[in-house]
Symmetry: C2
Protein backbone atom coordinates (compact mmCIF):
# COMPACT_ATOMS: atom_id res chain seq x y z
CA UNK A 1 0.00 0.00 0.00
CA UNK A 2 1.33 3.43 -0.84
CA UNK A 3 2.52 5.52 2.06
CA UNK A 4 -0.35 7.79 3.19
CA UNK A 5 1.92 10.50 4.59
CA UNK A 6 3.36 12.99 2.11
CA UNK A 7 7.10 12.72 1.80
CA UNK A 8 8.87 15.59 3.53
CA UNK A 9 12.22 16.43 5.05
CA UNK A 10 15.23 14.49 3.83
CA UNK A 11 13.06 12.01 1.92
CA UNK A 12 11.56 14.88 -0.11
CA UNK A 13 15.03 16.29 -0.82
CA UNK A 14 16.17 12.91 -2.11
CA UNK A 15 12.99 12.35 -4.13
CA UNK A 16 13.38 15.60 -5.99
CA UNK A 17 17.07 14.96 -6.68
CA UNK A 18 16.38 11.40 -7.89
CA UNK A 19 13.59 12.66 -10.14
CA UNK A 20 16.18 14.86 -11.85
CA UNK A 21 19.25 12.64 -12.01
CA UNK A 22 18.23 9.04 -11.29
CA UNK A 23 18.65 6.69 -8.33
CA UNK A 24 22.42 6.16 -8.19
CA UNK A 25 24.21 7.10 -4.98
CA UNK A 26 27.83 7.01 -6.10
CA UNK A 27 30.34 5.81 -3.55
CA UNK A 28 33.59 7.69 -3.02
CA UNK A 29 35.76 4.85 -1.72
CA UNK A 30 39.46 5.68 -1.99
CA UNK A 31 40.82 2.31 -0.97
CA UNK A 32 44.59 1.79 -1.17
CA UNK A 33 44.02 -0.44 -4.22
CA UNK A 34 41.99 2.18 -6.10
CA UNK A 35 44.41 5.00 -5.25
CA UNK A 36 47.15 2.87 -6.77
CA UNK A 37 45.10 2.04 -9.85
CA UNK A 38 44.31 5.73 -10.35
CA UNK A 39 48.00 6.60 -10.09
CA UNK A 40 47.52 8.55 -6.88
CA UNK A 41 49.69 8.40 -3.75
CA UNK A 42 48.30 6.65 -0.66
CA UNK A 43 48.28 9.86 1.38
CA UNK A 44 45.92 12.65 2.40
CA UNK A 45 46.73 14.43 -0.87
CA UNK A 46 45.88 11.28 -2.80
CA UNK A 47 42.56 11.00 -0.96
CA UNK A 48 41.73 14.62 -1.74
CA UNK A 49 42.56 14.26 -5.44
CA UNK A 50 40.54 11.06 -5.67
CA UNK A 51 37.51 12.63 -4.03
CA UNK A 52 37.65 15.83 -6.06
CA UNK A 53 37.86 13.86 -9.32
CA UNK A 54 34.78 11.91 -8.25
CA UNK A 55 32.90 15.12 -7.50
CA UNK A 56 33.88 16.61 -10.88
CA UNK A 57 32.77 13.46 -12.68
CA UNK A 58 29.53 12.88 -10.78
CA UNK A 59 28.18 16.45 -10.55
CA UNK A 60 24.93 16.63 -12.49
CA UNK A 61 25.09 12.92 -13.36
CA UNK A 62 23.91 11.47 -10.04
CA UNK A 63 21.84 12.88 -7.16
CA UNK A 64 24.13 11.93 -4.29
CA UNK A 65 27.62 10.84 -3.35
CA UNK A 66 28.56 8.68 -0.41
CA UNK A 67 32.10 9.17 0.84
CA UNK A 68 33.22 6.15 2.84
CA UNK A 69 34.65 7.79 5.95
CA UNK A 70 36.92 4.88 6.92
CA UNK A 71 39.19 5.38 3.92
CA UNK A 72 39.80 9.00 4.93
CA UNK A 73 40.20 8.13 8.62
CA UNK A 74 43.08 5.81 7.69
CA UNK A 75 45.19 8.97 7.36
CA UNK A 76 44.07 10.47 10.66
CA UNK A 77 43.48 14.20 10.92
CA UNK A 78 45.02 14.92 7.51
CA UNK A 79 42.73 12.34 5.91
CA UNK A 80 39.72 13.85 7.67
CA UNK A 81 40.85 17.24 6.34
CA UNK A 82 40.78 15.76 2.82
CA UNK A 83 37.25 14.50 3.49
CA UNK A 84 36.18 18.01 4.52
CA UNK A 85 37.47 19.38 1.19
CA UNK A 86 35.70 16.67 -0.79
CA UNK A 87 32.41 17.18 1.07
CA UNK A 88 32.58 20.95 0.54
CA UNK A 89 33.25 20.49 -3.18
CA UNK A 90 30.34 18.06 -3.48
CA UNK A 91 27.97 20.49 -1.78
CA UNK A 92 29.16 23.31 -4.03
CA UNK A 93 28.54 21.08 -7.05
CA UNK A 94 24.94 20.50 -5.99
CA UNK A 95 25.40 16.90 -4.95
CA UNK A 96 23.75 15.52 -1.84
CA UNK A 97 26.37 14.16 0.55
CA UNK A 98 25.64 11.01 2.54
CA UNK A 99 28.51 10.53 4.99
CA UNK A 100 28.95 6.78 5.32
CA UNK A 101 30.27 6.89 8.87
CA UNK A 102 28.22 4.10 10.49
CA UNK A 103 28.48 5.82 13.86
CA UNK A 104 26.90 4.44 17.02
CA UNK A 105 26.86 5.31 20.71
CA UNK A 106 24.63 6.46 23.56
CA UNK A 107 23.82 9.65 25.44
CA UNK A 108 26.12 12.63 25.18
CA UNK A 109 28.50 10.65 22.95
CA UNK A 110 25.77 10.09 20.38
CA UNK A 111 25.00 13.81 20.66
CA UNK A 112 28.61 14.53 19.76
CA UNK A 113 28.51 12.26 16.70
CA UNK A 114 25.27 13.94 15.67
CA UNK A 115 26.92 17.36 16.01
CA UNK A 116 29.94 16.20 13.99
CA UNK A 117 27.95 15.00 10.98
CA UNK A 118 24.65 16.88 11.11
CA UNK A 119 25.22 20.29 12.69
CA UNK A 120 25.21 22.79 9.80
CA UNK A 121 28.20 24.57 11.43
CA UNK A 122 30.40 21.45 11.55
CA UNK A 123 33.26 21.11 9.06
CA UNK A 124 31.94 17.57 8.43
CA UNK A 125 28.26 18.54 8.02
CA UNK A 126 26.57 16.16 5.57
CA UNK A 127 23.03 15.96 4.19
CA UNK A 128 22.70 12.60 5.91
CA UNK A 129 24.84 10.21 7.93
CA UNK A 130 24.67 6.45 8.29
CA UNK A 131 24.35 5.04 11.82
CA UNK A 132 24.36 1.58 13.38
CA UNK A 133 21.47 0.64 15.74
CA UNK A 134 23.09 -1.92 18.06
CA UNK A 135 22.39 0.36 21.08
CA UNK A 136 18.72 0.52 20.13
CA UNK A 137 16.85 3.02 18.02
CA UNK A 138 16.19 5.13 21.13
CA UNK A 139 19.90 5.74 21.58
CA UNK A 140 19.98 7.42 18.15
CA UNK A 141 17.50 10.09 19.20
CA UNK A 142 20.00 12.99 19.40
CA UNK A 143 20.94 12.41 15.76
CA UNK A 144 17.31 12.08 14.67
CA UNK A 145 16.28 15.31 16.34
CA UNK A 146 19.27 17.26 15.08
CA UNK A 147 18.70 15.99 11.53
CA UNK A 148 15.02 16.92 11.65
CA UNK A 149 15.87 20.42 12.84
CA UNK A 150 17.64 21.26 9.56
CA UNK A 151 15.94 18.95 7.05
CA UNK A 152 18.83 16.51 7.13
CA UNK A 153 18.63 12.73 7.31
CA UNK A 154 19.82 9.77 9.36
CA UNK A 155 20.11 6.45 7.57
CA UNK A 156 20.03 3.48 9.93
CA UNK A 157 21.82 0.29 8.90
CA UNK A 158 19.03 -2.26 9.32
CA UNK A 159 19.58 -5.11 6.85
CA UNK A 160 23.22 -5.17 5.80
CA UNK A 161 24.22 -6.82 2.55
CA UNK A 162 26.84 -9.16 4.07
CA UNK A 163 26.04 -12.75 5.11
CA UNK A 164 27.74 -12.47 8.54
CA UNK A 165 25.08 -10.01 9.73
CA UNK A 166 22.10 -12.31 9.21
CA UNK A 167 22.09 -14.17 12.53
CA UNK A 168 21.97 -10.92 14.54
CA UNK A 169 19.64 -9.01 12.26
CA UNK A 170 17.21 -11.95 11.94
CA UNK A 171 17.23 -12.78 15.67
CA UNK A 172 13.76 -12.64 17.24
CA UNK A 173 12.82 -9.98 19.75
CA UNK A 174 10.56 -10.74 22.68
CA UNK A 175 6.82 -10.52 22.24
CA UNK A 176 4.44 -9.23 24.93
CA UNK A 177 4.57 -12.54 26.84
CA UNK A 178 8.36 -12.56 27.03
CA UNK A 179 8.74 -15.33 24.42
CA UNK A 180 10.90 -14.78 21.33
CA UNK A 181 7.83 -14.39 19.12
CA UNK A 182 8.17 -10.68 18.41
CA UNK A 183 9.45 -9.35 15.10
CA UNK A 184 13.04 -9.93 14.03
CA UNK A 185 15.59 -7.31 15.06
CA UNK A 186 15.59 -5.85 11.55
CA UNK A 187 11.80 -5.72 11.29
CA UNK A 188 11.45 -4.21 14.77
CA UNK A 189 13.86 -1.48 13.66
CA UNK A 190 11.94 -0.90 10.40
CA UNK A 191 8.71 -0.59 12.41
CA UNK A 192 10.35 1.96 14.70
CA UNK A 193 11.64 3.93 11.69
CA UNK A 194 8.17 3.89 10.11
CA UNK A 195 6.70 5.26 13.34
CA UNK A 196 9.36 7.99 13.54
CA UNK A 197 8.52 9.03 9.98
CA UNK A 198 4.79 9.12 10.75
CA UNK A 199 4.56 11.48 13.68
CA UNK A 200 7.39 10.34 15.94
CA UNK A 201 9.68 13.18 14.88
CA UNK A 202 9.13 16.85 14.13
CA UNK A 203 9.78 16.23 10.42
CA UNK A 204 8.52 13.11 8.60
CA UNK A 205 10.93 11.57 6.13
CA UNK A 206 13.97 12.22 8.35
CA UNK A 207 14.90 8.59 9.02
CA UNK A 208 16.00 6.21 6.31
CA UNK A 209 17.20 2.62 6.30
CA UNK A 210 19.98 0.63 4.70
CA UNK A 211 18.38 -2.45 3.13
CA UNK A 212 20.79 -4.68 1.23
CA UNK A 213 19.63 -5.49 -2.27
CA UNK A 214 21.15 -8.96 -1.89
CA UNK A 215 18.44 -10.03 0.57
CA UNK A 216 15.06 -11.70 0.23
CA UNK A 217 12.16 -9.56 1.52
CA UNK A 218 11.46 -9.70 5.26
CA UNK A 219 8.02 -9.55 6.88
CA UNK A 220 8.04 -5.74 7.01
CA UNK A 221 6.22 -3.91 4.23
CA UNK A 222 8.83 -1.45 2.96
CA UNK A 223 6.26 0.55 1.02
CA UNK A 224 5.14 2.17 4.28
CA UNK A 225 8.59 3.17 5.57
CA UNK A 226 8.17 6.89 4.93
CA UNK A 227 11.90 7.46 4.55
CA UNK A 228 14.76 6.94 2.14
CA UNK A 229 16.04 3.44 1.45
CA UNK A 230 19.75 3.14 0.72
CA UNK A 231 20.43 -0.16 -1.02
CA UNK A 232 23.95 -1.57 -1.17
CA UNK A 233 24.94 -4.93 -2.58
CA UNK A 234 25.02 -4.28 -6.32
CA UNK A 235 27.98 -5.28 -8.45
CA UNK A 236 30.63 -7.29 -6.61
CA UNK A 237 28.13 -8.46 -3.96
CA UNK A 238 25.85 -9.85 -6.64
CA UNK A 239 22.50 -8.03 -6.48
CA UNK A 240 20.94 -7.16 -9.82
CA UNK A 241 18.52 -4.42 -10.83
CA UNK A 242 15.86 -7.15 -10.99
CA UNK A 243 16.51 -8.16 -7.34
CA UNK A 244 16.07 -4.53 -6.34
CA UNK A 245 12.91 -4.21 -8.41
CA UNK A 246 11.36 -7.13 -6.55
CA UNK A 247 12.51 -6.01 -3.10
CA UNK A 248 11.44 -2.38 -3.48
CA UNK A 249 8.30 -2.79 -5.59
CA UNK A 250 5.64 -0.31 -4.53
CA UNK A 251 7.95 1.95 -2.53
CA UNK A 252 7.32 5.64 -2.96
CA UNK A 253 8.75 6.94 -6.22
CA UNK A 254 12.32 8.20 -6.14
CA UNK A 255 13.03 7.39 -2.51
CA UNK A 256 15.22 4.32 -3.13
CA UNK A 257 18.89 5.14 -3.66
CA UNK A 258 21.06 2.36 -5.08
CA UNK A 259 24.57 2.55 -3.75
CA UNK A 260 27.21 1.48 -6.25
CA UNK A 261 30.88 2.08 -5.64
CA UNK A 262 33.45 -0.33 -7.04
CA UNK A 263 32.02 -1.00 -10.51
CA UNK A 264 31.66 2.73 -11.21
CA UNK A 265 35.01 3.73 -9.68
CA UNK A 266 36.73 1.02 -11.77
CA UNK A 267 36.05 3.30 -14.79
CA UNK A 268 38.33 6.01 -13.34
CA UNK A 269 40.47 7.97 -13.11
CA UNK A 270 39.42 9.71 -16.34
CA UNK A 271 36.49 11.97 -15.34
CA UNK A 272 34.70 11.46 -18.65
CA UNK A 273 34.81 7.67 -18.31
CA UNK A 274 33.75 7.88 -14.67
CA UNK A 275 30.84 10.11 -15.57
CA UNK A 276 29.73 7.81 -18.39
CA UNK A 277 29.93 4.77 -16.07
CA UNK A 278 27.84 6.56 -13.45
CA UNK A 279 25.27 7.71 -16.01
CA UNK A 280 24.96 4.26 -17.57
CA UNK A 281 24.60 2.58 -14.17
CA UNK A 282 22.01 5.14 -13.08
CA UNK A 283 19.98 4.65 -16.29
CA UNK A 284 20.00 0.90 -15.87
CA UNK A 285 18.84 1.15 -12.23
CA UNK A 286 16.17 3.73 -13.08
CA UNK A 287 14.44 1.18 -15.31
CA UNK A 288 13.56 -1.03 -12.37
CA UNK A 289 13.64 1.05 -9.17
CA UNK A 290 10.48 2.87 -8.06
Amino acid sequence: MADPVPVAGFAATVASAVARTGPLCAGIDPSPELLDRWGLPDSADGLRSFGLRCVEAFAGAVPAVKPQVAFFERWGSSGVGALESVMAAARDAGLLVIADAKRADIGSTMEAYAAAWLDPQSPLAADAVTVVPYFGIGALRPALDLAAASGRGVIVVVRSSNPEGRSIQEAKTSGPGGWPDGPSVEDALLEAIRDLNHGGLAVPGTVGAVVGATLAPSQFDLTGLGGVILAPGFGAQGATAEDAARLFAGCRAHTVLANVSRSVLAAGPDPGSLRRAAAATGEELAKTLP
Copy 2:
Protein backbone atom coordinates in the same frame (compact mmCIF):
# COMPACT_ATOMS: atom_id res chain seq x y z
CA MET B 1 35.60 -22.26 36.13
CA ALA B 2 38.91 -20.54 35.60
CA ASP B 3 39.99 -20.05 32.03
CA PRO B 4 42.28 -22.95 31.01
CA VAL B 5 44.21 -20.94 28.41
CA PRO B 6 46.97 -18.69 29.68
CA VAL B 7 46.24 -15.03 29.15
CA ALA B 8 48.28 -13.61 26.31
CA GLY B 9 48.24 -10.74 23.81
CA PHE B 10 46.25 -7.68 24.74
CA ALA B 11 44.67 -9.41 27.76
CA ALA B 12 48.15 -10.05 29.21
CA THR B 13 49.14 -6.43 28.60
CA VAL B 14 46.06 -5.23 30.45
CA ALA B 15 46.50 -7.74 33.28
CA SER B 16 50.01 -6.61 34.00
CA ALA B 17 49.03 -2.93 33.90
CA VAL B 18 46.02 -3.52 36.18
CA ALA B 19 48.20 -5.47 38.62
CA ARG B 20 50.37 -2.35 38.95
CA THR B 21 47.81 0.47 38.96
CA GLY B 22 44.35 -0.98 39.55
CA PRO B 23 41.30 -1.60 37.36
CA LEU B 24 40.19 1.94 36.43
CA CYS B 25 40.03 2.83 32.75
CA ALA B 26 39.67 6.59 32.92
CA GLY B 27 37.51 8.20 30.26
CA ILE B 28 38.71 11.31 28.44
CA ASP B 29 35.34 12.81 27.48
CA PRO B 30 35.66 16.49 26.58
CA SER B 31 31.98 17.24 26.22
CA PRO B 32 30.97 20.88 25.62
CA GLU B 33 29.68 21.00 29.21
CA LEU B 34 32.95 19.78 30.73
CA LEU B 35 35.07 22.08 28.55
CA ASP B 36 33.01 24.96 29.86
CA ARG B 37 33.27 23.81 33.48
CA TRP B 38 37.05 23.47 33.10
CA GLY B 39 37.27 27.01 31.71
CA LEU B 40 38.41 25.79 28.30
CA PRO B 41 37.17 26.97 24.91
CA ASP B 42 34.94 24.66 22.88
CA SER B 43 37.51 24.30 20.10
CA ALA B 44 40.27 21.97 18.95
CA ASP B 45 42.67 23.80 21.29
CA GLY B 46 40.27 23.27 24.17
CA LEU B 47 40.04 19.57 23.36
CA ARG B 48 43.83 19.27 23.28
CA SER B 49 44.27 21.06 26.62
CA PHE B 50 41.56 18.95 28.22
CA GLY B 51 43.11 15.71 27.00
CA LEU B 52 46.65 16.66 27.97
CA ARG B 53 45.55 17.63 31.48
CA CYS B 54 43.87 14.24 31.80
CA VAL B 55 47.05 12.47 30.69
CA GLU B 56 49.15 14.46 33.16
CA ALA B 57 46.75 13.65 35.98
CA PHE B 58 46.19 9.98 35.18
CA ALA B 59 49.77 8.90 34.32
CA GLY B 60 50.89 6.35 36.88
CA ALA B 61 47.54 6.46 38.69
CA VAL B 62 45.51 4.29 36.30
CA PRO B 63 46.45 1.61 33.75
CA ALA B 64 44.48 2.92 30.78
CA VAL B 65 42.71 5.93 29.35
CA LYS B 66 39.76 5.83 27.00
CA PRO B 67 39.40 8.91 24.80
CA GLN B 68 35.84 9.20 23.53
CA VAL B 69 36.41 9.81 19.83
CA ALA B 70 33.06 11.50 19.16
CA PHE B 71 33.95 14.55 21.24
CA PHE B 72 37.06 15.12 19.15
CA GLU B 73 35.26 14.39 15.87
CA ARG B 74 32.84 17.25 16.65
CA TRP B 75 35.62 19.59 15.55
CA GLY B 76 36.41 17.71 12.36
CA SER B 77 40.01 17.36 11.23
CA SER B 78 41.31 19.84 13.80
CA GLY B 79 39.59 17.90 16.58
CA VAL B 80 41.05 14.65 15.27
CA GLY B 81 44.45 16.36 15.28
CA ALA B 82 43.92 17.16 18.96
CA LEU B 83 43.07 13.50 19.57
CA GLU B 84 46.34 12.46 17.91
CA SER B 85 48.27 14.73 20.30
CA VAL B 86 46.44 13.38 23.32
CA MET B 87 46.96 9.76 22.28
CA ALA B 88 50.67 10.35 21.68
CA ALA B 89 51.04 12.00 25.08
CA ALA B 90 49.24 9.11 26.76
CA ARG B 91 51.50 6.55 25.10
CA ASP B 92 54.58 8.54 26.10
CA ALA B 93 53.27 8.62 29.67
CA GLY B 94 52.99 4.83 29.77
CA LEU B 95 49.22 4.70 29.69
CA LEU B 96 47.37 2.14 27.60
CA VAL B 97 45.08 3.88 25.12
CA ILE B 98 41.69 2.40 24.33
CA ALA B 99 40.19 4.42 21.48
CA ASP B 100 36.46 4.47 22.11
CA ALA B 101 35.49 4.75 18.46
CA LYS B 102 32.71 2.11 18.24
CA ARG B 103 33.48 1.54 14.56
CA ALA B 104 31.60 -0.95 12.42
CA ASP B 105 31.53 -1.95 8.77
CA ILE B 106 32.25 -4.79 6.34
CA GLY B 107 34.95 -5.86 3.93
CA SER B 108 37.53 -3.36 2.75
CA THR B 109 35.84 -0.61 4.78
CA MET B 110 36.35 -2.55 8.01
CA GLU B 111 39.96 -3.08 6.88
CA ALA B 112 40.33 0.69 6.63
CA TYR B 113 38.94 1.27 10.12
CA ALA B 114 41.29 -1.42 11.41
CA ALA B 115 44.22 0.33 9.74
CA ALA B 116 43.17 3.70 11.18
CA TRP B 117 43.06 2.53 14.80
CA LEU B 118 45.34 -0.52 14.98
CA ASP B 119 48.11 -0.14 12.42
CA PRO B 120 51.22 0.85 14.40
CA GLN B 121 52.08 3.39 11.64
CA SER B 122 48.73 5.22 11.86
CA PRO B 123 48.59 8.63 13.57
CA LEU B 124 45.57 7.27 15.46
CA ALA B 125 47.14 3.94 16.48
CA ALA B 126 45.73 2.82 19.85
CA ASP B 127 46.41 -0.18 22.06
CA ALA B 128 42.81 -1.25 21.48
CA VAL B 129 39.72 0.05 19.76
CA THR B 130 36.04 -0.49 20.52
CA VAL B 131 33.87 -1.88 17.71
CA VAL B 132 30.15 -2.59 17.23
CA PRO B 133 29.10 -6.08 16.03
CA TYR B 134 25.83 -5.37 14.18
CA PHE B 135 27.36 -6.70 10.93
CA GLY B 136 28.31 -9.96 12.68
CA ILE B 137 31.49 -10.96 14.39
CA GLY B 138 32.84 -12.31 11.09
CA ALA B 139 32.76 -8.82 9.59
CA LEU B 140 35.21 -7.66 12.26
CA ARG B 141 37.87 -10.13 11.17
CA PRO B 142 40.22 -7.56 9.53
CA ALA B 143 40.44 -5.70 12.85
CA LEU B 144 40.92 -8.88 14.86
CA ASP B 145 43.76 -10.11 12.66
CA LEU B 146 45.49 -6.74 12.54
CA ALA B 147 45.24 -6.39 16.32
CA ALA B 148 46.66 -9.87 16.87
CA ALA B 149 49.59 -9.12 14.58
CA SER B 150 50.93 -6.46 16.94
CA GLY B 151 49.59 -7.56 20.33
CA ARG B 152 46.83 -4.98 20.24
CA GLY B 153 43.19 -5.53 21.16
CA VAL B 154 39.67 -5.19 19.80
CA ILE B 155 36.90 -4.66 22.32
CA VAL B 156 33.48 -5.62 20.99
CA VAL B 157 30.41 -3.86 22.39
CA VAL B 158 28.30 -6.84 23.40
CA ARG B 159 26.09 -5.84 26.36
CA SER B 160 25.75 -2.07 26.44
CA SER B 161 24.83 -0.32 29.66
CA ASN B 162 21.81 1.59 28.26
CA PRO B 163 18.24 0.26 28.50
CA GLU B 164 17.41 0.94 24.81
CA GLY B 165 19.85 -1.73 23.69
CA ARG B 166 18.23 -4.62 25.55
CA SER B 167 15.63 -5.71 22.99
CA ILE B 168 18.26 -6.15 20.25
CA GLN B 169 21.00 -7.60 22.43
CA GLU B 170 18.61 -10.04 24.14
CA ALA B 171 16.90 -11.13 20.90
CA LYS B 172 17.16 -14.88 20.27
CA THR B 173 19.22 -16.28 17.43
CA SER B 174 18.10 -19.32 15.49
CA GLY B 175 18.99 -22.76 16.77
CA PRO B 176 19.91 -25.68 14.51
CA GLY B 177 16.26 -26.36 13.64
CA GLY B 178 15.62 -22.79 12.51
CA TRP B 179 13.55 -21.91 15.60
CA PRO B 180 14.52 -18.94 17.79
CA ASP B 181 15.89 -21.22 20.49
CA GLY B 182 19.57 -20.41 20.03
CA PRO B 183 21.47 -18.16 22.42
CA SER B 184 20.65 -14.47 22.67
CA VAL B 185 22.53 -12.13 20.34
CA GLU B 186 24.80 -11.03 23.19
CA ASP B 187 25.55 -14.58 24.34
CA ALA B 188 26.20 -15.77 20.79
CA LEU B 189 28.72 -12.95 20.46
CA LEU B 190 30.36 -13.82 23.78
CA GLU B 191 30.65 -17.46 22.64
CA ALA B 192 32.28 -16.32 19.40
CA ILE B 193 34.72 -14.11 21.31
CA ARG B 194 35.60 -16.98 23.66
CA ASP B 195 36.32 -19.20 20.64
CA LEU B 196 38.48 -16.50 19.03
CA ASN B 197 40.49 -16.22 22.24
CA HIS B 198 40.91 -19.99 22.44
CA GLY B 199 42.49 -20.85 19.11
CA GLY B 200 40.42 -18.86 16.62
CA LEU B 201 43.06 -16.17 16.26
CA ALA B 202 46.85 -16.20 16.06
CA VAL B 203 47.08 -14.59 19.51
CA PRO B 204 44.73 -15.52 22.39
CA GLY B 205 43.52 -12.64 24.50
CA THR B 206 43.14 -10.32 21.50
CA VAL B 207 39.36 -9.88 21.67
CA GLY B 208 37.59 -8.24 24.57
CA ALA B 209 33.96 -7.38 25.30
CA VAL B 210 32.05 -4.42 26.64
CA VAL B 211 29.74 -5.73 29.36
CA GLY B 212 27.71 -3.08 31.12
CA ALA B 213 27.99 -3.26 34.90
CA THR B 214 24.34 -2.17 35.14
CA LEU B 215 23.11 -5.53 33.84
CA ALA B 216 22.10 -8.81 35.46
CA PRO B 217 24.25 -11.78 34.39
CA SER B 218 23.30 -13.50 31.12
CA GLN B 219 23.54 -17.25 30.43
CA PHE B 220 27.16 -16.97 29.25
CA ASP B 221 29.89 -17.81 31.76
CA LEU B 222 32.16 -14.76 31.61
CA THR B 223 34.93 -16.54 33.50
CA GLY B 224 35.85 -18.38 30.30
CA LEU B 225 35.96 -15.39 27.96
CA GLY B 226 39.73 -15.32 27.62
CA GLY B 227 39.81 -11.60 26.88
CA VAL B 228 39.50 -8.23 28.54
CA ILE B 229 36.14 -7.07 29.85
CA LEU B 230 35.49 -3.34 29.69
CA ALA B 231 32.65 -2.46 32.04
CA PRO B 232 30.81 0.86 31.70
CA GLY B 233 27.81 1.93 33.70
CA PHE B 234 29.35 3.13 36.97
CA GLY B 235 28.47 6.47 38.46
CA ALA B 236 25.71 8.34 36.66
CA GLN B 237 24.30 5.12 35.17
CA GLY B 238 23.96 3.58 38.60
CA ALA B 239 26.15 0.47 38.78
CA THR B 240 28.06 -0.02 42.04
CA ALA B 241 31.28 -1.85 42.81
CA GLU B 242 29.08 -4.56 44.38
CA ASP B 243 27.13 -5.02 41.12
CA ALA B 244 30.41 -5.45 39.30
CA ALA B 245 31.71 -7.87 41.91
CA ARG B 246 28.68 -10.12 41.38
CA LEU B 247 28.73 -9.89 37.58
CA PHE B 248 32.46 -10.53 37.19
CA ALA B 249 33.06 -12.97 40.05
CA GLY B 250 35.57 -15.62 39.04
CA CYS B 251 36.89 -13.81 35.98
CA ARG B 252 40.63 -14.02 35.49
CA ALA B 253 42.47 -11.63 37.80
CA HIS B 254 43.14 -8.13 36.46
CA THR B 255 41.34 -8.54 33.15
CA VAL B 256 38.24 -6.51 34.04
CA LEU B 257 38.60 -2.78 33.40
CA ALA B 258 35.98 -0.54 34.95
CA ASN B 259 35.30 2.50 32.80
CA VAL B 260 34.51 5.62 34.75
CA SER B 261 34.39 9.02 33.11
CA ARG B 262 32.06 11.67 34.42
CA SER B 263 32.47 11.23 38.17
CA VAL B 264 36.27 11.38 37.89
CA LEU B 265 36.35 14.23 35.36
CA ALA B 266 34.03 16.25 37.61
CA ALA B 267 37.04 16.62 39.95
CA GLY B 268 38.96 18.60 37.28
CA PRO B 269 40.46 20.75 36.01
CA ASP B 270 43.07 20.77 38.78
CA PRO B 271 45.43 17.86 37.96
CA GLY B 272 46.01 17.03 41.62
CA SER B 273 42.28 16.75 42.32
CA LEU B 274 41.75 14.73 39.16
CA ARG B 275 44.53 12.37 40.10
CA ARG B 276 43.19 11.91 43.62
CA ALA B 277 39.69 11.24 42.27
CA ALA B 278 41.06 8.63 39.86
CA ALA B 279 43.17 6.99 42.56
CA ALA B 280 40.29 6.85 45.04
CA THR B 281 37.91 5.42 42.43
CA GLY B 282 40.48 2.85 41.38
CA GLU B 283 41.12 1.77 44.96
CA GLU B 284 37.40 1.38 45.62
CA LEU B 285 36.93 -0.74 42.47
CA ALA B 286 40.01 -2.85 43.20
CA LYS B 287 38.35 -4.06 46.40
CA THR B 288 35.63 -5.92 44.51
CA LEU B 289 36.85 -6.57 40.95
CA PRO B 290 38.78 -9.77 40.21
